[in-house]
Assembly symmetry: C2
Homo-oligomer: 142 residues x 2
């Protein structure tokens, strides 16, 4: 396990305005993390971190997540080369979500489908009021 420890059980004012990092993990021990391209600001992926993944990310400067499907610590890019170097990490007001501005190594992709971003489909209502998906022009390149 990691050496990094986090604050806990802050009052609301300290949680929102203070300098203590006290991430609020959910009942499964996870916090939501949004990775954004440091240059384009495009949202790349949304994933989850447990305390160890968050600590490893801070200690190494490379994004680590908790894989819920594999039930294991996931050093993003360790096998694919798509390492996410964290330029800046932020936390939200109530400290239950993380934003990371990252630069991606290797082929620059982030999604396991071979795209830069996992968000390659628009959701919209068709003429029958049904929600449908449409791939964006930049599905593979943007």
């Amino acid at each position: 396990m990691s050496e990094t420890r986090f604050g806990q059980n802050l009052d609301k004012s300290t949680q929102e305005e203070g300098e203590i990092f006290a991430p609020r993990f959910n009942a499964e021990g996870l916090i939501t993390a949004v990775a954004v391209d440091a240059d384009t600001k495009r949202v790349l992926m949304v994933a989850h971190m447990n305390a160890e993944a968050l600590a490893k990310t801070l200690e190494t400067g490379e994004a680590h997540y908790w894989s819920r499907s594999r039930n294991e610590l996931w050093h993003k890019g360790a096998t694919s080369g798509q390492i996410q170097r964290v330029e800046e990490m932020r936390v939200d007001c109530d400290q239950d979500a993380i934003e990371m501005r990252v630069r991606v190594s290797g082929d620059g992709n982030c999604c396991h489908t071979g795209r830069r971003s996992c968000f390659y489909r628009r959701v919209s209502m068709d003429q029958n009021g049904e929600a449908r998906l449409t791939k964006t022009d930049m599905a593979f390149t943007g």
Copy 2:
């Protein structure tokens, strides 16, 4: 309740590459939603939607969430005027996260602390290896 219905139980290929919107709600019936400023691309907030909030968002074009603290449908801005007009909604590869590009009405703020974005603090390691928070220069204006 809303009229909008969503797909369910798709095979992996249809889930990832198809045109059917089949959002995967978690055990609590919620899906993660990231709101991004349509102009600056800045991440504004991360919140959750249940099926009704997601349907209302699609039907009205205004962001609705599920408030976990108040345990109720939350039409963002209904009281504050900070309505989030959705310019584009996207879903990720495995359909368990939503991205929305929004324009905010009223004073243009998003966070209940009076800031544009909820992500107004950087997380970094200090010289003792402790994770600390630092407010950004743009804490209230950016």
